[in-house]
Structures are given as structure tokens and as C-alpha cells.
């Protein structure tokens, strides 16, 4: 491959590729994975936490899941500092829409708007692309529950189930086999945990290595974004038979 054409983000290679964008996707391929599954009564996002030191203070904030607005949340895979910029951009875009139209921003429009920002970094400015892939989960009154995946090129697609980050191809093929169209939210959680446990590199799966978040409609009909507590997550791992017992000495 022509290394002469890598240094500038904004030009094509002779084969018609954008190398910087592809290198960004390489960077994401080494990051912690995230899986999103769309069910008929909600969207489930599960993420693998790469940094799990006992010294890390993780009281309330999450590493992989972020709320963008009351009705939209996202899971991140890639360079965290790049992700923080984009998440902030997405939050401001959502509020700007609400300010102008006095209603929540439709999920696809939010994803599109953020992807337009990402695309800008592949065409002008001479700056490198963002090394982040997102899984957006949300609800709006036009299309109900939705799941979108976006990558550094600014491409996005609506998915029924998607995976980003390390081993995402293996996860994606597993999801393709086991996903059913009328899956319920609980079954989606089970499927996501099962797939993630199979694709994660670690030998034993504990609730400290995972994050689980769901978007669903509460009993009063309002959209709710909820991150699972580590205790509940631990119980779920045992219930679904996903926790591997620690190896005997």
C-alpha cells in the first residue's frame, strides 16, 4: 500500500481509499468492545471496560455509556478523549434543536448531525479524523426505538443489532445468528451479555468489567435511560450463566 499518501487526511489514495480514516478504525479495533441490540420495548447497550484497576475511582460516572439527552444515549469505542469532544458536541446539538423547536431532537437527525461533524474532518481542515465509533440508542415519537452505529468516516446506519470495538466482526456474526425480530428487552440483555462474554479476551467475566445501559419507556410513558448498578449486573451475569467461575488454583 502506498505509504506516500497517508500523511494527509484529506486526499484519496490511488486505490480510492482514505487511509487516515482506515487507520482511525484500526485504533478502534483495539479498544474495548460495545454491543447494542434493538428490542421491541427498548434498546440495550453493553460495553466492555478496558481500564479495570482497583485504584480507579468510578463512583457515578461511566466509562462507555453516555447520555446525550433525555431520550438518547450512546456507547463509545475508541479514543476516549476524542469521544468526549463528540459527546459534548452531540449534547449541544440536541439542546439547540430543542431550543428552536421546543421538542426533543429526532434520533436520526442527531446522529446525522454528529456524523456531519465527523465527515468534516475527512474532507477539509487537514486535521485527523476522530478515532471513535458510536452506538446511539434512542426513542422518538416518529420511529420509536432506534439503534444507530457510526464510524470515523462519518458513515452511519440504523441497525437491529450492532457491535463496535475489539472483535466486532465475531460479535456481529454471533448477533446475526441469534437475533430475532420480536426479541424482548430482557432477552436482548441476555443475548448481549452472552455475545460479549464470548468475544471478550478476559478469562472471567465480572460486573466490574462491564457496563450495561437500557433505553425504554417507563410506566408513565416517558423515555428512560438507565445504567445498571454493578450489583444488579453481577446478579444478571449469574442468572444467565455467563459468569465463569475463577480457575481453581
Amino acid at each position: 500500500m502506498s505509504r506516500r499518501y497517508d500523511s494527509r487526511t484529506t486526499i484519496f489514495s490511488p486505490e480510492g481509499r482514505l487511509y487516515q480514516v482506515e487507520y482511525a478504525m484500526e485504533a478502534i479495533g483495539n479498544a474495548g468492545s460495545a454491543i447494542g441490540i434493538l428490542s421491541k420495548d427498548g434498546v440495550v447497550l453493553v460495553g466492555e471496560k478496558k481500564v479495570t484497576s482497583k485504584l480507579l475511582q468510578t463512583l457515578t460516572s461511566t466509562e462507555k455509556m453516555y447520555k446525550i439527552d433525555d431520550h438518547v444515549a450512546c456507547a463509545v469505542a475508541g479514543i476516549m478523549s476524542d469521544a468526549n469532544i463528540l459527546i459534548n458536541t452531540a449534547r449541544v446539538q440536541a439542546q439547540r434543536y430543542t431550543f428552536s423547536y421546543q421538542e426533543p431532537m429526532p434520533v436520526e437527525q442527531l446522529v446525522q448531525s454528529l456524523c456531519d461533524t465527523k465527515q468534516g474532518y475527512t474532507q477539509f481542515g487537514g486535521l485527523r479524523p476522530f478515532g471513535v465509533s458510536f452506538l446511539f440508542a434512542g426513542w422518538d415519537k416518529n420511529y420509536g426505538f432506534q439503534l444507530y452505529m457510526s464510524d470515523p468516516s462519518g458513515n452511519y446506519g440504523g441497525w437491529k443489532a450492532a457491535a463496535v470495538g475489539a472483535n466486532n466482526q465475531a460479535a456481529q456474526s454471533m448477533l446475526k445468528q441469534d437475533y430475532k425480530d420480536d426479541i424482548s428487552r430482557e432477552e436482548a440483555v441476555q443475548l448481549a451479555l452472552k455475545v460479549l462474554s464470548k468475544t471478550m479476551d478476559s478469562t472471567s467475566l465480572t460486573s466490574e468489567k462491564l457496563e450495561l445501559a437500557e433505553i425504554f419507556l417507563s410506566s408513565s410513558g416517558k423515555v428512560k435511560y438507565q445504567v445498571c448498578t454493578p450489583d444488579d449486573l453481577g446478579k444478571m451475569l449469574v442468572k444467565y450463566g455467563v459468569t465463569q467461575p475463577p480457575a481453581e488454583a
Binding site: 457515578t60 447520555k67 446525550i68 439527552d69 449534547r91 430543542t98 431550543f99
Partner: protein, 204 residues
Amino acid sequence: MSIFEYNGSALVAMVGKNCFAIASDRRLGVQLQTIATDFQRIFKIHDKLFLGLSGLGSDTQTLYQRLVFRHKLYQLREERDMKPETFASLVSAMLYEKRFGPYFCQPVIAGLGEDDKPFICTMDSIGAKELAKDFVVAGTASESLYGACESMFKPDMDHEELFETISQALISSVDRDCLSGWGGHVYVVTPTEVTERILKGRMD
């Protein structure tokens, strides 16, 4: 007629024992003609923070929408609700930004701060804060409200008595003001619940 008196408004907030109450009138007029009798002047920012906006209706709505914008972003970034004192500073800063083309509003902020301590304040249209320990008033009926509150208020009222007091103060004051009235809207907030009540007054 002054631009602040174009739509007509009356707002009052009072502090009680571990609770607060905020009340407004419901009239929206265009000078002397009444247009609406269910106009919302008090807005909830979060469960323990309420904002009342008196003055020009259009400016109050826009200012409220801009504050929702800022507060939502704050909530997302800080992962917590804004304290009332902080919110008051935000409102003050936003109003002063428009020092030479101001919003024609007078806000009344009421909330439960740290340890659920009641906090109330008001400010003028360019953000000069006025903190008070007992009550704050705003709107075209403010002069009558000052008198009514001064005589009816006593410290450390419980939420029932506070509701009665603030309602009486509001109704008696708007009755003396032709630009405000057509009922009242009262919120009484304690650390555990928020009670919203509509008052029936002289419908004129």
C-alpha cells in the same frame, strides 16, 4: 405605559420551615385587554428548583427556553441538578450579557439548596440579585405585594400555613392591580413533595 407593564404579572415567593412556596397570577393581557387566563409564569427547572418570570411575556418564554438549554447541558456534564444559588448566578449572568438590550423580565428564583435549606431571590432585568430570607415579589402588582407580604408573613411556617399565607397575599394584591389577576397558581415545595394548586380569585 412601560414595557414591563405591557402584559401584566404578579409573582411572589416565600420561605417556610424547610419548605418554600412560589405563586403567580394567571392573566396575560395586551395592555388593557385580557388575552389569556391560564398563562404560565412559574416553571420547574428541577424537582427542587422553580423559576418565576414576570414582565414581557415573549421575553419570559425565551429566557426560560435559554435557561432550560443551559441547565440541561449542566445536568449532563455534572451528572447532578444545579443548586439554586448557582442557578441564580447563571440567570444573573445571562441577563447582564444583554445589558444594553435587556430582556424585559424580572425573575423570581425559589429552591431547596444544600440540606434542603430554602433559597429565594429576585433580580432586576439586568441581573442585580436581591437575596431575601423571608419573601420576594415581582411584577406589576409588586408594590401591593410588598405591603401584603410584610404584614402577613411570619417566619418558620409549615407548608399548610405557608400556602394559606402566600395565597392570601397574592389574591389581595392582584385585586388592587388591574393588569394582573384572573386567579392564581401556587406551588408549595417540601423536600419530599411538590404541591401545585390553582386559586380562584376575582375573575377581572
